[in-house]
Amino acid sequence: MDFEPRYTPEQQEFRREVNAWLKDNVPAGIVHPADPAGLTWEQYQLRRDLGRKLGARGWLWPTAPVEYGGGGLDVDHAVVIEEEIDSHGLTLPPYYDSGGRLGGNSILVWGSEEQKRAFLPPIFTGQVRTWQLLSEPEAGSDLANVKTTAIRDGDEYVLNGQKIFVGSDHGCDYMWTITVTDPGAKRHENLGWFMVPSHLPGITIQPMDLLISGGESGAGSGVKQTVYFDDVRIPAFNLVGGENQGWKVATTHLELEHGTGGRIGRNWLVDRLFEHCRSTNRRGQPMTQDPDVRDRLVDVYVEAEIVRLLNLRNYWMRHSGANITYEGPQASYVRKTSGLRMAQAMLDILGPAGLTHDPELGAADGHMEAHSRAGIVAIHPGGTTDIQKVIMARRIGIGREVREKAGALS
């Protein structure tokens, strides 16, 4: 076993290249608002510009195939890029985009050659951003219960319905979504998966008023939206995976969203908390000298390390072709419940300073206050904690003859 990535001289050379490039290209003015709703249009554009530049080099989606605009790099090189971008406090992509990681993978696995050529290069080079439009009022955990319809009419499908809890601020270019294509068919055999251009007539987007948009920190997910489709006509070409095959297509991105992709990178929130406690005096000494604070800081650290290692394991498993079963939902479950526990530890450590983003009386530029909200809200997206447990149990094979298999990944 070896937990430390070993870098060949060639990789080290690559790291120097990436590092130098990032130094030249990450704009100086990028800020990290504590609440993703604080990401301004200008800041979003800075991040998009960086995304396009990364995309032009094949570094935005490093492991995606070259023929579809990706970097075609192996994991050893992708790791280097992820580590270096992480050291700038950024992620890949440096903005909220559910296209490359989730929808893009579904298209890679299930799309026709023409569809891959049409949809993937703009995504993988950062020309477009896409939103994931799954949830509806009657379809949360029970995603297969969607009511939005897409009915075939000649060379087009006509969409009608409503999606909630989706997207972000500042718009998108494509929405990928799952709808009913055959109202008469059985559950799971009645769905279609579509790439919907977001500028089409009949699409209305309205912001939702939530406690916070979620814990997708760093990527500036912004404000969640309600999207209405009123007789929206889309080309039949945009149906991915074939007629009534939508559920199958969805299993790919759902699998990834359940945490199976893994992740390399640190929890910046923990760093910020530690830094705050080191540099803030309470009763005449640094907070880190207070035994109670020390105990709780260590609790936070322990939580973060477990999450980091489960994500690291999943990243390794995915890229080494290991047989993944329950590990994805496990990482998701532990991350979510751990985020809740961290929020309470922060409240214990900081007192009411952890509940305000006041410049004088708050803590760590409002990042702690934001987590006091995000810790709660982030347990829902991508499947609730209960749903992660349901899937884990099936994959472990608790009480059943046949263990459920994980969804197909690219």
Partner: protein, 380 residues
């Protein structure tokens, strides 16, 4: 033994529940909670008209002379809103502080006005080095030119108060502050009444998830020495000990409200063709929630009973605050698990409780502090 409420308490409970439903419907609570809204005084006027703000104030000082348990019953219902203050701050904490630490003439002066709601007297104790101990009070009061400050002309002399109070609960809805100050001469800590509109006093709300917390600045504020409560910090401590179970009852009411919301939602929300309450995982969340609720309820009501019965209540009070603070915090977490996405929508109203639970977790001391004091009270 009889753990039932008296018929009078049942009537009070029903009346308070009707009052909260009528005066503080969800829409009103949401509007009050929205950042650009200053707390409207209209429901406060209605609350004052009920006479309930005098529930802990003896009849001779214009109150209702109720028991601690009566107050618990009332504040539990107010907690169901959760209704915004400054009812706990003024009618429970400050009223008890004046009772414990005021001279006879101070009691006659302040208590009837607290009972009538005319005075919204809000304790301003904690500072940026957050803590509830005497040692944490740094705001300073120095003896000032007597003639300049002796506003009531009784020759009692005057003080100048300087300092910044932080995380003051209900600070923005105060008409007066009950401010903890350290004497520049003797170094003793005392509490003094200061009008919120006195020159040099400035309160501002703290933005974010905090529920009605403020910063209050006192810049060279002139105070009549006759407005300093006689009893000092010891009297304040006695008042806090009695007010805590009343605060806990408010937290119990919050737990009760999110419990009922969760049970209702588990019956009506359909996923996978069935009410989600059929899923054992959802049942588990609600069962954990109700366990927190009942733990908070019975530790709280026993502490209230001990105060009424004149027993030594110290350990019970610490126990109740530790359990109720943790309970309300966790009850909200479980309610969020049950509701998933809908619970994080502002318009649904659950997040009002979540915000309240976080702030009250720390108000008058967090679970850790009370566990430590409990250990001492147990002679460990």
């Amino acid at each position: 033994m009889d753990l039932a409420l008296t018929p009078e308490q049942e009537m009070l409970k029903a009346a308070a529940r009707r009052f909260v439903a009528q005066e503080y419907p969800k829409e009103a609570l949401l509007q009050i909670a929205s950042p650009d809204e200053t707390t409207p005084l209209e429901p406060w006027g209605q609350l004052a008209a009920t006479g309930w703000l005098g529930i802990l104030i003896p009849l001779e000082y214009g109150g209702e002379g109720g028991s601690f348990t009566d107050a618990g019953v009332l504040f539990e219902e107010l907690g169901r809103g959760p209704t915004p203050g400054p009812h706990i701050a003024s009618a429970a904490l400050s009223a008890l502080a004046v009772l414990e630490g005021g001279t006879e003439s101070q009691k006659r002066h302040w208590l009837p006005r607290i009972a009538s709601g005319e005075l919204r007297l809000v304790p301003a104790i904690t500072e940026s080095d957050y803590g509830w101990d005497e040692a944490d009070v740094r705001a300073v009061a120095t003896v000032a030119d007597v003639a300049a400050v002796d506003s009531d002309g009784d020759g009692g002399g005057g003080l100048r108060v300087n300092g910044v109070k932080a995380y003051v609960f209900d600070g923005q809805s105060a008409s007066h502050f009950l401010c903890a100050v350290r004497s520049g001469e003797s170094n003793d800590v005392a509490l003094t009444v200061i009008p919120a509109d006195a020159p040099g006093v400035r309160a501002r709300g703290l933005p974010g998830f905090a529920w009605n917390l403020s910063e209050v600045r006192f810049d060279n504020v002139a105070v009549d020495a006759g407005d300093v409560l006689g009893g000092g910090w010891a009297a304040w401590r006695r008042a806090v000990e009695k007010a805590i179970p009343v605060l806990c009852a408010f937290q119990v009411g919050g737990c009760q409200a999110v419990y009922e919301l969760s049970v209702d939602y588990s019956r009506t929300r359909i996923q996978f063709g069935t009410p989600i309450g059929r899923f054992q995982r959802v049942q588990d969340q609600i069962i954990s929630l109700v366990n927190h609720l009942d733990a908070a309820r019975w530790t709280t009501y026993e502490a209230l009973w001990k105060l009424d019965a004149g027993r030594d209540a110290t350990a019970s009070v610490r126990l109740a605050k530790a359990v109720a603070s943790e309970g309300y915090y966790q009850a909200c977490n479980y309610a969020h698990e049950v509701h998933a996405g809908v619970g994080s929508m502002t318009e649904y109203g659950l997040t009002l409780h979540t915000a309240a639970s976080r702030t009250l977790y720390h108000y008058l001391g967090d679970p850790k502090q009370h566990k430590r004091e409990l250990a001492a009270a147990l002679g460990l």
